[in-house]
C-alpha cells in the first residue's frame, strides 16, 4: 500500500513532468490574455479582448498628465460612478504593445484604479470600460511625451 507521502511525491513529480513537457500550461500563462497584449492598434486589442466597439462617454473620468516629461513613468487614473463596470483596460495608441493592462473589479471595490504606465512617444491614451451587459465605453486623452520610455 502506498503511503500518503509517497503518493504526494509521485503526483508532484508527474505534474512537474507534464508542466515541463508543455502538457499543462504553466500557471502564469493560464489566465493571461497573450493575444490581447500582442495585438497591434486599438482595434486589434479590442478585437482580441472580444468586446464591442466602444462609445466615448463622459461618465468615465480619466486623468492623465497633458505633458509627461518622462515617458517611463506616466501616472494615469480612471474612475467611474457607473454601475456594472466589470473591467477597465488601458490602451496606448502608439506604444509597441498597445494594451498596457486590464483591471477586473469585483463588487467589493470601487470601479477606479490608478497606476503608472510607460509611453514610447506622444500618443492618445484610452481607458476602456467594459460593462457587465456588454456595453463598452471609453475616455481618451492625449499625453505629450518629451522623453520616451521605450528603447533608449
Amino acid at each position: 500500500m502506498q503511503t500518503r507521502r509517497e503518493m504526494m511525491r509521485r503526483s508532484a513529480a508527474v505534474a512537474a513532468l507534464l508542466g515541463g513537457a508543455g502538457v499543462l500550461p504553466a500557471q502564469a500563462q493560464t489566465a493571461w490574455n497573450k493575444g490581447a497584449f500582442e495585438a497591434k492598434g486599438v482595434e486589434g486589442v479590442l478585437k482580441a479582448l472580444g468586446v464591442a466597439k466602444p462609445v466615448e462617454s463622459q461618465d468615465i473620468v480619466f486623468t492623465a498628465p497633458d505633458i509627461a516629461e518622462n515617458g517611463a513613468v506616466v501616472p494615469i487614473a480612471v474612475s467611474t460612478a457607473l454601475p456594472g463596470v466589470r473591467r477597465i483596460a488601458f490602451l496606448v495608441e502608439k506604444n509597441p504593445t498597445t494594451l498596457a493592462g486590464v483591471f477586473e473589479f469585483s463588487d467589493a471595490v470601487e470601479t477606479g484604479v490608478g497606476t503608472r504606465i510607460k509611453m514610447g512617444e506622444t500618443s492618445n491614451v484610452l481607458a476602456v470600460a467594459i460593462l457587465g451587459d456588454g456595453k463598452v465605453l471609453y475616455a481618451q486623452k492625449e499625453v505629450k511625451v518629451t522623453l520616451g520610455g521605450c528603447g533608449g
Binding site: A26, Q27, A28, Q29, A31, W32, N33, F37, A72, V73, V74, P75, A77, F90, V92, N95, P96, T97, L99, A100, G101, V102, F103, E104, F105, S106, D107, A108, V109, E110, G112, V113, G114, T115, R116, I117, K118, M119, G149, C150, G151, G152
Partner: protein, 103 residues
C-alpha cells in the same frame, strides 16, 4: 526572490484606499543592452488583491506598465484591522505575496 511590496491601506470614508508599490524590473523586451543584444521581456502578468482572503480586484498587465509598478484602488466597506493581500505572478513564473493590515 524579489523585494517585498510596499502596501499602504488606510480607511477613508466608508472604504479603504490601498496603495501598492511593487518592486519589479518590468522589461519590455524591446530594449537593448550595451552590446546591442535585446534584453528579454520580464514583467508582471497577473496581479490579485484580496480582502480577508476574498479576491476583490485582479489585473492582467503587459509590458507597458512602468518599472516598479504602482497601483491604487479603493475597497468598499473595509474596516481598520482587515487584511489586504496582494499577489503577483511574472512571465518567468515567479510570484510574490505580501499582506498588510488596514489602518
Amino acid at each position: 526572490m524579489s523585494d517585498p511590496m510596499r502596501i499602504r491601506a488606510q480607511v477613508q470614508g466608508s472604504g479603504a484606499i490601498v496603495r501598492v508599490l511593487m518592486s519589479h524590473e518590468m522589461e519590455t523586451g524591446l530594449r537593448k543592452d550595451a552590446a546591442g543584444k535585446t534584453i528579454p521581456a520580464w514583467h508582471i502578468t497577473e496581479v490579485t488583491a484580496a480582502l480577508n482572503g476574498k479576491t476583490v480586484l485582479s489585473a492582467q498587465w503587459g509590458t507597458a506598465i512602468a518599472k516598479n509598478p504602482f497601483t491604487q484602488f479603493t475597497v468598499k466597506g473595509a474596516k481598520a484591522g482587515d487584511k489586504i493581500t496582494i499577489s503577483w505572478v511574472d512571465n518567468h513564473g515567479d510570484k510574490r505575496t505580501d499582506e498588510a493590515t488596514i489602518a
